[in-house]
């Protein structure tokens, strides 16, 4: 395993905080920087990457790998040609079929324990053997088994949050009662910030650090362009000059430093 290799879990307390947007674009940003990246959809209750990346069919899903019916190389889809010939971006998707979602919801504790083992094994199979630089886990919100498995397997947890009151309270609890207990390095990404003018940057940063008592990786303003794109654009790839892409680039630089 190289010293730089990392597993990053993108998590949040509530849904709709921008985990998937952040995961996809961060993966594309690292790929643009010449890193070999794999993005995984670990939200088995509401899979979204297959739709977002317009993958309608797959012979093997991440569900199959966790079920122990195939190895991880069968699951990976090479997205490199779609984002740029020199980039190395792979994805592992959750099966969006209703039957698969129902199946994943009914797993018992022993299955979840084995699933944790298979996620932990990715460190050897993908980082060490297949020389990936970054694995990015897009998780489901809150205290779901699949999310906590992802957190336990990760080196770094990015917590996507907003200034919504219930999200703030829940995120604070998770920082103390989940990430801290697992001794995880955690960074907060504040998303959908209204009035994020440069003059308020310091104020917002101090307020966030004060609330969460955790390092702040980045502040993402509420961009109308992102809402208008309706999840169909990978900004880091298609809009290289967009302010969101620049913010992602800064975040990637910070992550590379750690």
């Amino acid at each position: 395993m190289t010293a730089m290799a990392k597993i990053i879990a993108v998590h949040s307390y509530k849904g709709g905080t921008g985990k998937t947007l952040l995961s996809v674009n961060l993966a594309a940003t690292f790929a643009k920087r010449g890193k070999k990246v794999c993005l995984f959809d670990l939200d088995f209750r509401a899979p979204s990457l297959a739709t977002l990346l317009k993958v309608e069919k797959s012979d093997h899903w991440l569900n199959d790998y966790l079920n122990g019916t195939c190895e991880i190389d069968k699951v990976l889809i090479d997205f490199s040609p779609k984002v740029g010939s020199t980039e190395k971006l792979f994805v592992g998707l959750a099966n969006p079929a209703t039957e698969a979602i129902r199946d994943m919801s009914g797993k018992d504790r022993k299955w979840e324990m084995r699933a944790l083992g298979r996620l932990l094994a990715l460190r050897d199979s993908l980082l060490a053997d297949m020389h990936f630089d970054y694995l990015i886990f897009d998780t489901s919100p809150g205290l779901q088994y699949s999310s906590i498995n992802a957190i336990v397997s990760a080196d770094l947890v990015l917590v996507a949050t907003t200034f919504d009151r219930s999200d703030v309270d829940g995120t604070k609890r998770m920082l103390r009662e989940l990430y801290d207990l697992f001794e995880k390095k955690t960074e907060v990404v504040l998303n959908k910030v209204l009035d994020a003018a440069k003059s308020r940057k310091l104020e917002i940063e101090e307020k966030t650090k004060d609330i969460y008592q955790a390092p702040l990786l980045g502040v993402v303003p509420c961009f109308c362009d992102i809402l208008r794109a309706e999840g169909s654009i990978v900004f880091a790839h298609e809009k290289p000059d967009h302010p969101f892409t620049r913010i992602l680039d800064e975040m990637a630089s910070e992550i590379e430093k750690t």
Partner: protein, 125 residues
């Protein structure tokens, strides 16, 4: 002198057996000390398989979670190897590992002089 000569003639496997038994006794003593420290005198026999899933990890006391997490990550480890990861004393880790075995979360297997601890993940049957 006569005693030493007599001992020298003893088959090696008898001495090996004594050493193994002493190590087992040592393991048990460490567990008992640990259980007494944490007021768990009630648990004496290993419990049936108790899956080491993330919710179980979350509900564990901090000192045991650290040990259990290390075994989860490493896969199969001796007390010495766990101690290297947690930066705690080998004897402390040995006690915690044996406690986790008693609780049914870990399995223990002896190979020669070494005792290995691991999570049994594969389904039985």
């Amino acid at each position: 002198m006569a005693n030493e000569e007599h001992l020298g003639r003893k088959p090696l496997h008898v001495l090996e057996k004594i050493r193994e038994n002493l190590e087992r006794l040592n393991d048990k003593m460490e567990v008992m000390i640990e259980l007494q420290k944490h007021g768990r005198k009630d648990i004496q026999q290993p419990l049936a398989d108790a899956p080491l899933d993330v919710m179980t990890l979350l509900s564990m006391p901090d000192h045991l979670r650290k040990t259990a997490m290390t075994v989860c990550r490493v896969g199969r480890a001796t007390a010495d190897e766990v101690a290297q990861h947690t930066h705690r004393a080998r004897a402390v880790e040995s006690a915690y590992l044996n406690q986790l075995v008693i609780m049914g979360h870990l399995k223990k297997e002896r190979k020669g002089r070494k005792a290995y601890f691991f999570v049994e993940r594969e389904a039985k049957g």
